[in-house]
Amino acid sequence: MSEVVLNTVIKSRGPWATAMRRLWRDRAAMAALTCFLIILCMCLLAPVYAGWSHAEPFKSTLDATIQINGQTVNVMEQSTEGLGLGYNPIGPTWQLGNYFLGADNQGRDVMSRLLYGGLNSFLIAGAATVLTLFFATLIGLAAGFFGGVVDAVLSRVLDILWAFPVYLLAISLSIVLIAHGIEIGPITIESGSLWLPIFIIGIVYIPYVARPVRGQVMSLRQSEFVMAAIGLGASNSRILLRDILPNVATTLIVFIPLMMALNMLTESALSFLSIGVQAPDASWGTIIQDGQGLLYSRPMVALAPGLAIVLSVLALNVLGDGLRDALDPRSKIKLGRG
């Protein structure tokens, strides 16, 4: 065949490129993506900010002093209310690098902790999402494609996981595992490790993704193009990889931001209950817990991470909706039991 003709042909836009274009034109989704990326980048710069501000994000610094408008001020002031016992941390100075959002009950810089905490929150949510999607895809593909006994066994296991409310399961698992960590064969997770919440959150959401994937694979299994592939003599692995997975991929991609959002909420909840990220490490959940006691005097300590969670989760959800619309305008993928 003539090479010239082949090389001058413009590759037509595939379904992926079309979806990307559609997403690019979706203003709400792009705004959400920008918002999310800004928050993520700020959190990624946490060590830079900490190094520059000299404020201590992790060690308690009860006797530190700072300079504000030429005056030396204690980070922890003697409380003037009530019996005059205890200390009141400094409020927001609104000066970048100088206790911008004030200090918490240990005299630690809230702004710096907020960034480090965000880093942990994103890390846990992201890693748990990867974990969930990986196992859910494996389980969904196997159960949906092979059916029969494989499906029966896998579906029952998912049902058992599903029978527990997510938070109840996550909390129970955390409480049990937080003391001693996990040892499963070669895998060992220390009790204070970030991997513990990642593992727990990743596990509890597997059924929520595996179920829709299984359903979709089952219907794809009956589709004519899979019939055609069998008729061509394709092996099971070829059919799974080349015909089924690309069609399931859209669902999985839509799940990424939605699961991220859900995981961030779960992570905050666990950390808020002191069974997620362990001190002195921070996450948005632990900072809210720190701020709980200061809610009346220094509301910013709890408010700032709360706002950060709301913004991130909202951005991720809007992005997820946009992705869904862009990838398959007809589909109605929903999280949860539906």
Partner: protein
Amino acid sequence: MTVLYEAKNVSKRFTVGSRFSATGKLTLNAVDNVSLSIKAGETLGLVGESGCGKSTLGRCMTRLYEISHGTLVFDGDDISQKSLRQLRPLRAKLQMVFQDPSASLNPRRRVGDLIGEPLRIHAKMNHREIADRVSELLTLVGLSPDHATRFQHEFSGGQRQRIGIARAIAVNPKLIVLDEPVSALDVSVQAQIVNLLADLQEKLNLTYVFIAHDLSVVRQVSTRIAVMYLGSIVEIGNIEDIFAKPAHPYTQALISAVPEPDIKKAGMRSRIILTGDVPSPVNPPSGCRFHPRCPIAQDRCRMERPVLRVHNSKQQAACHFPL
């Protein structure tokens, strides 16, 4: 002519409902004890109303459905006993084209990728050779080589069916089962595809099983025709013989329903209109399956099931009182 494919006493039963449904588990005899043989180079038309099991039979013949009973012999090999894995290399010689090309072509893969798939499975070719072969195939089915980089949704129905055909002929099969390849297309496009299939048959020495419900299309392409009713073959024979003098009343009714373009002739012939619907294959009538709708049914038809017998020393028909 040598026999290329032989189906002996093939049955396909589906189970409907579950133990827990109101009616309980029911058996649906989609294909009921069908035997036929296909000679190399011919086109066997398989016709019947929708739901008569012709597509199921087609899928059984390519082992896309597991048969419940019977044997399938293709090119000297008994393919009904082979496992799906053992069957894979044989599939190169036995291909299938589906009714709805937009459903049978993966929407997420490029046309070149789709047509190249059988080559990657069966032929030991490198990328360059596959690309060349794909261009060649596209030209052969009347498309342009640069269509290889497109997706199926960018094509019209007729073009999509051409892609499906290109994929089926990629590895030089001997037999292609065409499952209503033109019924989803416009009449004008139907003619083009039918002509393409005829050209390809001549060029590549193909044997076709042409499944259709449209007798006028079947008449154009087939050398022999098998008429199915409720899972069984009621008449089988050469196309001219059957159209000239159908032996089974069902065939006669079907042929009388074919539109006649010549007004003078159309006025002269009598249209046989069957009453009633096709009975459910879950609960088929006793005796001859066709007797509730047959204009010439008698008591014997209600009791005894007719078998295929030679009539007029030409075609075979399953009727006690052939016309």
